[in-house]
C-alpha cells in the first residue's frame, strides 16, 4: 500500500523541549490550531479541538515519545470519535539540528476515507482561514508589546 501524505518541515531556533511544549500544551496549541484545545498526554486518551466557526473535532493521542514524537488521529466530522475512515493521522517528529530543532509534520490517511474527503478538506481549509485571523491578532499583540 503506498500512502498519500502531506509532509512539511520547519527549522526552529529553540530547544526541543520548547517545541514539544508548543505542540502539546493546550494553552499553546490554541495559538496555532483552533480556538480551544482539551487533551491529556496519554496514549489512547481522547481530546477535543474546537473552532469557534466550525465546532468541535475529536482527537485521540496515538503516540507520545517526549521530546521526539507526538501523533494524534483527528476526526474530520464534527463531534465524532476518530477512527480510520473518518480521520487523518497527524504525526510530529522533532530532531536536534544546527543548534535548534527541526520539526516535521506528516498528515496521512486520506485514502482511507469512507465519506466525502473533499468536504473534509474544505473543513480543513475553513479552519486554516480562521487560524490566519488568529495569526494576525497574535502578530498585532506582539507589535504592541
Amino acid at each position: 500500500m503506498s500512502e498519500l501524505l502531506v509532509t512539511r518541515t520547519v527549522h526552529i531556533n529553540a530547544h526541543r523541549s520548547a517545541v514539544w511544549d508548543a505542540i502539546t500544551v493546550p494553552e499553546l496549541i490554541t495559538e496555532w490550531f483552533g480556538n480551544t484545545a482539551d487533551l491529556e498526554l496519554t496514549i489512547g486518551a481522547p481530546g477535543r479541538l474546537g473552532w469557534d466557526d466550525f465546532g468541535e473535532f475529536r482527537i485521540v493521542i496515538e503516540e507520545i515519545d517526549e521530546p521526539n514524537v507526538f501523533a494524534f488521529r483527528w476526526a474530520r466530522e464534527k463531534d465524532t470519535d476518530p477512527r480510520p475512515g473518518n480521520s487523518t493521522l497527524v504525526r510530529f517528529r522533532l530532531a536536534d539540528k544546527d543548534g535548534g530543532t527541526e520539526l516535521t509534520v506528516r498528515e496521512t490517511g486520506w485514502e482511507e476515507f469512507e465519506g466525502d474527503v473533499e468536504a473534509a478538506m474544505q473543513d480543513n481549509t475553513g479552519g486554516w482561514i480562521s487560524e490566519l485571523d488568529e495569526l494576525v491578532a497574535f502578530l498585532d499583540k506582539q507589535d504592541s508589546v
Binding site: 502531506v6 526552529i12 509534520v105 487560524e131
Partner: protein, 104 residues
C-alpha cells in the same frame, strides 16, 4: 472541483496502480501489454484498470481490435492541488509553532 475525490485517493493508494499510471502516462497501452511489463496477472491488471477508470484517472481508447488505456492528467492535478492546499495550511501552522517555541 465538484466530483468526489474519495475514489481518486483510494485508487491511488496502491503501488501497482501507481506503476500502471506511470506507464500509461508515457504511452497508451492495452491490459495485455501492461501485464507483460508488470509482475501481475492480466486479470489483476484488468481489475486495477477498472478502479482507475472509475476514479477518472484513466480512460479506455479503442484502437483497432484492442482497447488501450491512457492516463488522464486533470484528476491527478486536482489531487495534487488539494494536497498542496493541505500542505500550505501546515506551513502556516508550523510557522506559528516556530514563533511560539522561539519566544518560550
Amino acid at each position: 472541483m465538484t466530483e468526489k475525490l474519495t475514489p481518486v485517493f483510494a485508487a491511488l493508494a496502491d503501488e501497482t496502480r501507481w506503476d500502471i499510471l506511470r506507464r500509461l502516462g508515457s504511452r497508451e497501452l492495452s491490459a495485455s501489454a501492461l501485464a507483460t511489463e508488470l509482475p501481475v496477472t492480466r486479470q489483476a491488471i484488468a481489475k486495477h484498470l477498472a478502479v482507475l477508470t472509475d476514479a477518472g484517472l484513466v480512460e479506455a481508447v479503442p484502437t483497432g481490435r484492442e482497447i488501450r488505456y491512457r492516463a488522464l492528467g486533470a484528476r491527478l492535478s486536482g489531487v495534487a492541488a488539494e494536497l498542496d492546499r493541505i500542505g500550505s495550511a501546515w506551513d502556516d501552522r508550523l510557522g506559528r509553532i516556530r514563533a511560539i517555541a522561539e519566544r518560550l
